[in-house]
Amino acid sequence: MVENIEIILSNEPLSLSVCQSFVEDPAAGGIVHFVGAVRNHTKGKTVIRLDFEAYEPMAISEMQKIAEQAIQKFGVMKIAIHHRVGTLEIGELPVIIAVSSAHRKAAFEACQYCIDTLKETVPIWKKEIFEDGEVWVSATP
């Protein structure tokens, strides 16, 4: 069987073209990518950088589960989920999710399902570093 899921946790910059290459397939007519980016502000405060950490083995197994669920739920072909850990500057990419499918609607739905679910279940945490302090995102109200 051809491998149809690629999960990567990496300290190095992520590559959109690597994700695209993994999901490409002669039978795929549509590919949808979600690319996260580090914004320069949040709730009106200026962000200097973000620090990401992961409970790595479980982060990988949870991302694998999400991709398997998405393939089953939406009937898509291949999924790549690449996530950064470590320190990220403004504009860097914390996550890329690529989904290929025979038809585009399923690719959009599956890609959105993957990023929505990743943000709920995958044990990865980010700390926002401001000029005057830092905060674990979403930890407290």
Partner: protein, 82 residues
């Protein structure tokens, strides 16, 4: 009978417990719910979190799951990947 379990702390839970790896004494047969209650009693800051899940051997454990000394126990505060 008491047992000593080791918990790993990520994100804000590391700040609350003051370290990545903590040893905690629990009665034998203690559940995930028991551990959560013990943590909240000992560290009131846990009450301020939006959520606290506990992973047992790399899976989210349900509240009734019984913990043993051999398990890998990890505190999972609200996640914020992506």
């Amino acid at each position: 009978m008491a047992m000593k379990i080791k918990v790993l702390c990520f994100g804000i839970t590391r700040d609350i417990l003051g370290g990545f790896e903590k040893e905690i004494e629990l009665p034998e047969g203690a559940s995930v719910a028991f551990l959560k209650q013990r943590l909240t009693d000992e560290y009131p800051q846990f009450q301020k979190l939006n959520s606290l899940r506990i992973a047992v051997n790399e899976e989210y454990g349900n509240e009734e799951l019984v913990i043993t000394e051999q398990d890998e126990i990890v505190l999972i505060p609200p996640v914020s990947g992506g």
